[in-house]
Symmetry: C2
Subunit: 189 residues, 2 copies
């Protein structure tokens, strides 16, 4: 990642990465399918942790609470293992390349797919499981972007809870109270 | 699209497409940036309609209702202009190619970005605008997939309303009622 930061993603070759890491190109390709994958190392581990946390949530937990536990667990891992300085550098490299942004969208789509499958195993039907998975991943991604870009560092899990609270209040259950101008209230004579 | 259906996307060349459409390759590239874009013709028009509909929603409409109006408008356009047989054929071509699935994710991400910007102009702050835009596009995409894949053809707007109803009930506003075991209710003596 150092090299991508120094030279830009497009200008960096696999040969240069292998040299910096003291590997042969052949060893490089044993670990990564292509040059892009270097920036997504660890995404399999994130997905496993997400799936495991949602699976382990108590059977009585509402689906949205199981999802919240899952994304908070991966947020905590990102925050505690590699930290914000790393995430910021990586984010600026990804943002600068159309190819990398595409790969990132792909990874998010895989996370959402795995999450939907896990919700299905918890008994959530379709399309509910897919919808909730997309919401969970959107909350994760948007909170992560805020965490990385805001000048003051905040707790990533706190940002996720805040965003999830926004989602809850932005999608109120359809009101069953008749709107003003509806059937007039009958007064007893 | 006929050719992609007959030969598969990977096996079809721009020269063959141009020949079938009675165009030169040069004219093809005046209309499409690459071979993939053929399958996303009309996506700019969809985005314009989405933005315009959300912009035109009454100022008094809740953000979620403005989003609902926007995605229903593009659903109606897809259903009425090219219909389900076309959508099914296109979907099976996209699903069979990793490159096309990636481009599709990109287009959905652009739609969500445009929708978030429009919500911002309606006075919705961040991260609410981005979250709601992602939810709207997830509802659109998942409803579209159901519309295409279910054996019985249903109304696409009805599917969207159903999914939006699911989202509303899956994300209940955090209850402010103390949970069982919380502070006991005081009874008047």
């Amino acid at each position: 990642m150092e090299l991508y930061g120094e030279r830009g993603f497009d200008q960096t070759t696999v040969a240069q990465i292998a040299e910096r890491a003291e590997l042969t190109e052949r060893t490089f390709f044993r670990h990564f399918a292509d040059k892009r994958e270097v920036l997504f190392a660890g995404s399999g581990q994130l997905q496993d942790l997400l799936v495991q946390t949602v699976t382990d949530a108590p059977a009585s937990a509402a689906p949205i609470d199981a999802v919240a536990a899952g994304i908070e667990a991966i947020g905590a891992l990102l925050q505690e293992s590699r930290g914000r300085a790393f995430a910021r550098q990586r984010q600026s490299i990804v943002a600068a390349s159309a190819e990398l942004r595409e790969r990132e969208l792909n990874k998010m789509s895989s996370l959402a797919g795995a999450l939907a499958g896990t919700l299905g195993e918890r008994g959530v039907g379709e399309p509910a499981a897919s919808l909730l998975a997309e919401i969970g991943i959107a909350v994760f991604r948007i909170s992560f972007e805020r965490w990385v870009s805001e000048s003051r560092e905040r707790d990533l899990r706190e940002l996720m809870r805040e965003s999830l609270g926004e989602v809850r209040s932005l999608t109120p259950e359809a009101s069953r109270v008749p709107a003003a101008g509806g059937a007039p209230v009958r007064h007893a004579a």
